[in-house]
Amino acid sequence: MQARIERLRRNLTGTLPFIAPVHVMVLGVIVIPSLFVVWLSFHASTFGQAATFVGFDNYVRVLSDSYFWRSLLNTVIIIAVAVHLELVIGLGMALLFAAGLPFQRLLLVVVLAPYAISEVTAVAMWRFLFDPDVGPVTVAIRSLGLPPLDWTFIPEHGLALVGLLTIWLHLPFTFVILYAARLAIPKDLYEAGKTDGASPIQLFRNITLPLLAPAMLIAMLFRYIFAFRLFSEVWLMTQGGPARTTEVVAVYLYLEAFRYNSFGTAAATAWIMVIISLLLASGYIWRLRKETAANAH
């Protein structure tokens, strides 16, 4: 017992300098500022003025602002459509790759390419490709006799374009997670299934899908959480316009803070974002808590 305590004490004091840099950075740049956001959210303040305590006023104002609800709805729509499409396409690609392709390594690099592209550069590309007058994709769609995306005027089209761009940028992530998980499934399982006379569809339903489910869940969770922060794509594509119809929550927050100088309501929006993110991840956090606790002994 004495020896155990002694070892523990030596462990902790000796290891502190090693973990200190990471924790100082995280505390100083993320945790303390986030707690300050809580304080801000209960005060009315504009930049350069003394703050006054207003209770839940800021939250009430945000939650009764129709622009906030519009932005939340837009965010939810983009996440619901983009993330699930990414999962389905990513799954299809993972299975295709797992079945074996010629030039596999080269194709993998090709698929990863969009991961390297900045949101800003991607917006430049897509704005030109879909330019309402001269964009090659617009011209191609029009020459097929179909109505092109009129994304500068019609909010739904603007959101659709942002959704497409989001999928393009993040498909590599979803694909890699699912592909790695698919490769981790032992080959014997499929061979055993085949000797039992299972059809490819049965193999997929009874082996692939259940064994991929955890990875799909993780990929989906991460993508929910990261897509919820969506800012640059929307800001650079539509600036939230026309008439504030294509705003997402992060753009709403930015405008409240840096255009309307209303730090209180922006802070309330920020905490609503944090709470929604934590709720989205609650299942993941729960599992993690159990794992880290189990590792402690």
């Binding site: 462990n11 290891t15 090693f18 973990i19 840099p21 990471v22 950075m25 995280v26 740049v29 993320i30 500022p33 986030s34 300050f36 956001v37 801000l40 299809g92 295709l96 079945a99 392709l101 194709l107 993998l108 690099v109 090709v110 990863l112 969009p114 390297a116 592209i117 900045s118 949101e119 800003v120 550069t121 991607a122 430049a124 590309m125 897509w126 030109f128 490709l129 090659p136 011209v139 393009w168 498909l171 992530f173 890699v176 990875a215 991460f222 922060r229 650079l236 992060a250 803070a257 840096f258 730090f263 922006a266 974002m273 944090v274 993110s277 956090i285 993690l288 808590r289 880290t292 402690a296």
Partner: protein, 277 residues
């Protein structure tokens, strides 16, 4: 049976073609267009054979000097953030791999949860604080921000990689009287270079491309390349597409090549990052 094979082969080929087109076409189109003479950029149908020209690059050089300053700023910030994140993550990952206690596992859990906080949240209090400390529009603030938002993932990754190094190695050195820092530097780090590269790849791609923080915390002196690109996109006197394509090509080429050469580390990092927290 043979037609079956043929059909599935054709289906596969079509799927592969669609994937390649989807992933590469936007990039290739922009890179190609940056070398097209002005009128060919808007040609219908798009021209794939043309007389290449550097006119847009020259225009970029003459009219957007700030873009090249931006590239230099991006380089400084990216290198700084990658070094800081790799160093801090390696130190912490070592301890989280080799020691265990209730406090350590609690603090690791806390680190992982931090990843859930959206970056835009911290801009609100940091904006006045950064101004007050005179860090606004400096390389340092971006380096700190970029590195910090990746140290939790970095720590988890380094722990995963260090876990794979046999403990006998450092325990033997410990008996010989080596300090923890020496063990980390001399024994562990050389063996986990792939892990450090994986962390660096994440930070480099993020820092080189990031827009939101650069947009909020820089103005002129430390403005990064993506920020200058965004100014070109929303230029009031209409977008000069040729110049924008030239600038986009210069911005994306290095990081694209980097990802291509480092793809193994990127895949390893993504997989470990998602499954280990």
């Amino acid at each position: 049976m043979r037609t079956d094979r043929l059909l599935s082969g054709m289906g596969k080929a079509l799927a592969v073609a669609a994937i390649v087109l989807w992933s590469i076409f936007p990039i290739a189109f922009i890179v190609l267009s940056s070398f097209k003479p002005g009128r060919d950029i808007f040609a219908v149908p798009p021209k794939f054979f043309f007389e290449p020209t550097f006119a847009h690059y020259l225009n970029l050089w003459e009219r957007w000097g700030s873009f090249f300053d931006g590239l230099l700023n991006s380089l400084i910030v990216t290198a700084g953030a990658a070094l800081l994140a790799v160093a801090a993550s390696s130190l912490a990952g070592f301890v989280y791999s080799r020691y265990s206690s209730r406090m350590l596992s609690g603090s690791l859990f806390f680190l992982i949860c931090i990843r859930l906080i959206p970056p835009i949240v911290v801009t609100l209090p940091l904006f006045p604080m950064v101004n007050w400390m005179g860090l606004n529009d400096t390389h340092l603030i971006l380096i700190l921000l970029y590195a910090t938002f990746f140290v939790s993932l970095g720590t988890v990754l380094m722990r995963t990689f260090i876990d794979q190094v046999p403990r006998d190695l450092d325990e033997a050195a410990l008996l010989d009287g080596a300090s923890r820092l020496t063990i980390l530097r001399k024994i562990i780090l050389p063996l986990v270079a792939p892990g450090m590269i994986a962390v660096a790849v994440f930070v480099v791609v993020f820092a080189w491309n990031e827009f939101l923080f650069a947009f909020i915390f820089t103005a002129t002196k430390a403005k990064t390349a993506p920020f200058v690109l965004s100014e070109m996109i929303s230029s009031v006197d209409g977008v000069d597409w040729g110049v924008l394509f030239a600038a986009s090509t210069i911005q994306l080429a290095p990081v694209l090549l980097f990802v291509i050469f480092m793809n193994r580390f990127l895949v390893a990092g993504l997989t470990a990052g998602a499954t280990k927290g």
